[in-house]
Symmetry: C3
């Protein structure tokens, strides 16, 4: 079985797989942190949690949790389209020479975005988001180019 | 490298790639607009933004921004499953004759949904959402059919 | 066309396709339910819905709807990374012997999470979430293993 698909594991596919691993870790870290910080903060968003841990229940999250969830939602809004487009690029036969710089810039911009969002640093957050957006647009152009020259 | 995967770029794959590009644009436009309209509205959701731009800080978004974020979340809730299932359909060898109408109807319904959601037009928003949902269900049936006849 | 990709439909790919179908159904059921329960509850989140159905408009959802949306967001936060990583695993030539147990545990944990979240059962919700998280981490390790031994 592995032999029949060995042709898939090109350098571009390898770069994509690595990108998918790192960005999934980025997303899951933000998500797990939001729950952990809510629990540590001694508040509960579900009545059953409040009853279990003796914590007050609030539909509105404390500021640190709400910030983590905003960072997570921003990450989701850019990372999922990027990974779906990246898969298309690689499966269409796109090369590593274009994939590696785009994937690298996107990873760096997304990790930077998470860090500076949590630290409340501006204008770095806007710069990191804009850079990640430019990488998505570059990937869209690369997908179009590969499709039209395939 | 491109040669080894050339077999992948079938008409169905081409249709999928185009669908992925258009729907990613749809998602990113909604997401970027929500931030742009919040900034133009003179409100900030993060204290560091309020300090930087001299804007009042509010945890609750103004109605126009909240509406864009609801449209975005509805788009995410349907588009990501659709694109993941579409990739499975195409990689399983599903043909373009079924993929093209399903992808076309889904794209049209999602773009219509974004437009009528932002304009507050009912029952068109519900009709557009229901149509996009039917397209997802049709795609699920198509995936099952391809798998069972592969 | 189908012949050229027939090599793709390995047992691991079949398991992935089934996983993608079940988890997409899980996500869509939660999402559609949140809208249906809001409508049945006689409240509207958009003014045009309130005007149409003679329902009071509130930016904050009633508790049952907010709970469904939290369950949905938790599902999205884990299922999308899992499905993207699962696709990478299968396309890299990963075998079914590792994929099937990981996919099965993840599916069971996610469906259990949806059910116990909606019923407000603790500590089962935390146990189900932690199990699904361990399955994602196992899948990441499996992806790394396949890549490094490909």
């Amino acid at each position: 079985m592995r032999q029949s698909l060995a042709a898939t594991v090109t350098p571009a596919f390898w770069a994509y797989a690595f990108t998918c691993l790192v960005l999934s870790l980025n997303l899951l870290t933000l998500w797990v942190s939001s729950g952990a910080i809510r629990a540590k903060g001694g508040v509960a968003i579900n009545p059953e949690d409040g009853a279990r841990y003796g914590a007050p229940v609030s539909e509105l999250d404390p500021p640190a949790v709400a910030r983590l969830l905003r960072a997570h939602r921003n990450a989701e809004a850019t990372i999922y389209p990027f990974l779906l487009l990246g898969m298309v690029y690689v499966l269409a036969g796109g090369g590593a020479a274009i994939a590696v710089p785009i994937f690298t810039i996107f990873i760096a911009a997304r990790i930077a975005h998470s860090i500076v969002y949590l630290r409340g640093k501006q204008p770095w957050r806007t710069i990191a988001f804009a850079t990640s957006l430019l990488a998505v647009i570059a990937l869209m152009a690369a997908v179009l180019h590969v499709l039209l020259t395939a």
